[in-house]
């Protein structure tokens, strides 16, 4: 078996979820190549070469991969796809954008958001907002998967893979990159943070999220939100945790003013320890929380901040 992994990176660094994806590939078994497609991405490639378990880092460093446009990156992957039995990508906005395009070009199906590798052709994924875990066997000659990062531990970083350039600049000219409006954030990344503190509709407005941020900064946490909070315009979409947002599984998840709808739980119920602060003792979040405080968050958050 030979496995190709599409790396998640921002040219200058490799994203942690790439390491989780490599662990999933290791469970499948065989040689693993990692593809870095981008522009001026040498730093990401050098970081990738240190990951344990991979044979080669393939680098496609061309202006046409700026912004990692799906059409161009998919065409690049197609140029090397026939060398592989499996092609994996992290289940990120990029991975979900590119890999289905590759699948259709190869005329194969794709399994999204895989949470477990049972054998080289059999995998588990969660459906119906986390109410069902399905075990599926792929009948395709090349197996394409996106990998849920929180379901696999990160691989070690004491390897020394070779770095090789991939030929070809595939500019399909179907779309054009205009710009990235990246949220600059001093806090850890939501999907890899050890502690996450999330606010829901109970926060009442965007300004009040600063109360969460103050607590977050004292304990090195990332700040998340429910869809209701995003919907109401309190905070940006990239903070949304849940079925249709980001999946997190930190050591500690603190839900504040969050009711605990099934779609929110789908994104955080694998957290090691869950804490809920909610004034409604009947809120469903208390059914999954290890520790709960039934209180008004506007009293409890300042108390928590002071006590830390």
């Amino acid at each position: 078996m030979t496995i190709l992994i599409i790396a998640e990176h921002d040219n200058s660094s490799l994203k942690e979820i790439t390491l989780n994806t490599i662990t999933a590939a290791t469970e499948i078994g065989g040689d693993i190549d990692l593809l870095i497609a981008g522009e001026t991405c040498t730093a990401a490639a050098e970081a990738a070469a240190k990951i344990s378990g991979i044979t080669r880092v393939l680098v496609a460093d061309k202006p046409c991969y700026n912004g990692q446009l799906a059409e161009n990156v998919a065409a690049l992957i197609m140029s090397i796809a026939s060398n592989y039995t499996h092609i994996l990508a992290p289940s990120t906005a990029n991975g979900k954008n590119v890999l289905p395009r590759v699948a259709a070009k190869l005329d194969v199906s794709l399994l999204s958001d895989v949470i477990s590798v049972e054998s080289p052709d059999t995998f588990k994924r969660s459906i119906y907002a986390g109410n069902i875990i399905a075990t599926l066997q792929s009948l395709d000659p090349i197996k394409l998967l996106t990998i849920r990062g929180t379901s696999f531990s990160p691989s070690e970083q004491n390897g020394s893979a070779t770095i090789e350039a991939v030929d070809g600049a595939f500019d399909e000219a179907l779309s054009q990159f205009i710009n990235n409006d990246t949220v600059v954030n001093e806090r850890p990344e939501l999907t890899s943070a050890k502690i996450v503190i999330s606010g829901g509709r109970g926060m009442q407005n965007g300004e009040n999220f600063s109360m969460l941020e103050k607590v977050a900064d004292k304990i090195g946490a990332a700040v998340g939100a429910t869809r209701a909070a995003v919907d109401a315009g309190f905070v940006p979409n990239d903070m949304q945790v849940g079925q249709t947002g980001k999946i997190v599984a930190p050591d500690l998840y603190i839900a504040v003013g969050v009711s605990g709808a099934i779609q929110h739980l789908a994104g955080m119920k694998e957290s090691k320890v869950i804490v809920a602060i909610n004034k409604d003792p009947e809120a469903p979040i208390f059914q999954v929380a290890d520790y709960g405080i039934v209180s008004d968050l506007f009293d409890t958050l300042p108390e928590l901040e002071n006590a830390l």
Binding site: A103, Y128, L139, Y291
Partner: protein, 249 residues
């Protein structure tokens, strides 16, 4: 400009789905069904483009059982012009949904396809990307803003680190995210009017495609449930637990 929107009939997101007795599949008997929420957003966006004079016609396509006509009618009541149901009782993988949609596009000369970003039952998040690949068109997934100008679509996309803006040459495929718009409720007069809008039902066999599944469902199970924990009286008690008992602070 002609727009194709794709709408999927899914289980109502408020219903808890469970395995059937032999764990071979999910039990959907008598489960309430609804339109996938992201497909409502796709419908709304198309209708706004028509109201702005940019779109001339909106065709709504659904692939599913006979009852999927309900979801097509909902789209028609929101403002789509005519519907197509490709009727099948089978649950098709996104690859096959995309292949069927590509066939419809061959017959209809579509300039823009709007889909939901993901279906709330299966969370595939694949169909739009696959359709774009089959047609060799440009794609913009997770759209939160869409502007059409001179054969181009400028799309702002929700990505993990914030927003990305790209420009697509039409025809193209766009998948809709939550913040693109807030879907309208169809008014009663519009629901009545929608009953008279054209809706053709095509048997799936008519398309002559090999739609063999590429995945075999071996088993379904319920996930492990978490136990409810302790309700604590104070912040100090909480910090004590997190530091000493759990070691996570």
């Amino acid at each position: 400009m002609k727009i194709l929107i794709m709408v999927k009939r899914v289980t109502d997101p408020n219903v808890t789905i469970r395995p059937n007795t032999d764990s071979s599949n999910v039990d959907l008997t008598n489960v309430k069904m609804a339109m996938n929420p992201f497909c409502e957003i796709a419908t709304e966006e198309a209708v706004r483009l028509k109201e702005a004079g940019i779109a001339s016609e909106i065709i709504v396509l659904s692939i599913g059982d006979k009852q999927s006509q309900d979801q097509i009618r909902t789209s028609l009541a929101m403002g789509a012009d005519r519907g197509i149901l490709i009727e099948t009782d089978a649950t098709l993988e996104p690859l096959n949904i995309a292949k069927l949609a590509a066939k419809v596009i061959e017959e209809e000369e579509i300039d823009l396809v709007l889909l939901g970003k993901q279906s709330s039952d299966k969370d595939n998040n694949q169909t739009g990307q696959m359709l774009a690949a089959i047609k060799d068109w440009g794609q913009a997934t997770f759209a939160s803003k869409l502007d059409i100008n001179n054969e181009k679509a400028t799309v702002t996309r929700e990505v993990d680190t914030g927003l990305q803006t790209i420009e697509l040459t039409l025809p193209a495929v766009v998948t809709c995210d939550l913040r693109l718009n807030t879907p309208r409720f169809a008014s009663l007069p519009n629901i009545m009017k929608a009953k008279r809008k054209p809706l053709v039902v095509k048997p799936i066999e008519e398309f002559g495609l090999d739609l063999t599944p590429r995945f075999k469902m071996l088993n379904v199970e319920s996930p492990q449930v978490r136990e409810a924990g302790d309700i604590l009286g104070s912040v100090d008690e909480l910090l004590e637990k997190l530091k000493t008992t759990e070691g996570v602070l």
